[in-house]
């Protein structure tokens, strides 16, 4: 299952390291990554693949929520289809 991880907030050191480390620890493979400053906000978007049969999406979301509080950024994890269905015919 593919999902999109979005990190939005004030730029600071170690954002990518923090998020990608959590993904690595939970056996989630990063397929693509893009980073940009949009309306003065740091925005990172990752396309990831959930390969593991032992780790659920919920567990990864919970872990990322902890990081969200720690570094003060907003992190979303959503299945890829929500974006493709909304913006592609």
């Amino acid at each position: 299952m593919k999902a999109v991880v979005t990190v939005i907030g004030k730029d600071q050191k170690g954002i990518i390291a923090k998020v990608s480390n959590i993904l690595y620890e939970n056996d989630v493979n990063i397929l693509d990554i893009s980073q940009t400053i949009m309306q003065d906000m740091f925005t990172m978007i990752m396309l990831v693949d959930f390969e593991s049969e032992t780790v659920t999406l919920k567990q990864v979301v919970d872990k990322l929520e902890e990081a969200e509080k720690e570094i003060g950024l907003s992190i979303h994890v959503q299945r890829e289809e929500i974006f493709t269905s909304m913006h592609r015919i």
């Binding site: 979005t6 949009m38 396309l47 890829e80 289809e81 929500i82 974006f83 909304m86 913006h87």
Partner: protein, 455 residues
Amino acid sequence: MINPFEVIETIKMIDEENLDIRTITMGISLKSCAGPDVDTVCEKIYDKITTYAKDLVKTGEDIEEQFGIPIINKRISVTPIATLVDALENPTVEKCVKIAKTLDRAAKTTGVNFIGGYTALVHKDYTNGERILIESIPEALASTELVCSSVNVGSTRAGINMNAVKQMGQVVKKAAELTADTQGFACAKLVVFCNAVEDNPFMAGAFLGEGEGECVINVGVSGPGVVKCALKKVKGEDFGVVAETIKKTAFKITRMGQLVAQEASKRLGVPFGIVDLSLAPTPAVGDSVAYILEEMGLEKCGTHGTTAALALLNDAVKKGGIMASGYVGGLSGAFIPVSEDAGMIAAAKDGVLTIEKLEAMTCVCSVGLDMIVIPGDTSAETISAIIADEAAIGMVNTKTTAVRVIPAPGKSEGDVVEFGGLLGTGPVMPVKGYSSAEFINRGGRIPAPLQSLKN
């Protein structure tokens, strides 16, 4: 790779502009539960609902979590209960209420927010069961929490059953009196329709129609906030641009509904029915249909120009949404429930939005006079006359119209009634003081209108 701007746009719609899936409604046919003995019927109803819908709430929550899109309500609609009442041996009001309580219990077991279908379709005439069911509505709604009821009193092909219209005025009045301690809350769960649709996922008017299958998933989307924000970006542009902007936004909102509907249908192993393209407001600031109309350039919803603005909005929502879903149905249009819409509450309090203006608005929008609080001393005949006016609009214009008014006991013009939650806050709106009693007491049927010579 996914376009970052698109990702951010979607997230913004959900986080800041209140985009959500308003409801996943599972339609369950109860035809197989019919029988002469009420206890057996109740047992069958309870077993069928709790079996078919046992995973509904969990599935909704799973989808919500994985896709990151809020799904506000999970609901159930069933076959019009009057059909089952007709099959009972010696049907009585008590037996009907027993069935209502069973529906309530089943709804609670499955964890859904509402169950709809305590319904009778009497647009031409009554059967015995239908008459008794309608008689039982006040008590059924007062003694249950989650049961919603609807009665269809007219249609373009049959005309208006004025006997039913007369009775419904009394039913609304009695339902309010029986729930006086909650300002007539039972009336918020009761809709009187003309041209009711069979696949509506929205409450209080949802039921599973005669032509529907065994079990079906219908989804209702929402998103007035998203439309309003999109229109903010085209301030001052002409109506071509306004319509185009609404269409594009409605397309995106509906795609979300289609995705959720398909996913829910797949996971539950139940056929996908329709996506209802409605713009359904909530009392949350920023989730209001009135604000969309005001964004178009009206100082206050209800002023002159409101009907035209609503006509454009309603049409553009349909045009944009229709291509986004395989099957569109239900009520599909903009809802204008006064107590559930922050902008309408404000406009009604200021006296700009009146019942007369709302009546005109119902000619061009999705449903009808919805969630309107009227003085507690309004007579049953006046309520019937309000119903008759609204049914006439639906009948002549070949559209669905509805009345959901709450004659709040002890309240009068200037008072405000708090319902809480999604049902919001209703300022009491004045009705005419002159009598319609003689008109309503005539009874009989208003003949179906001409379908040609349309001018």
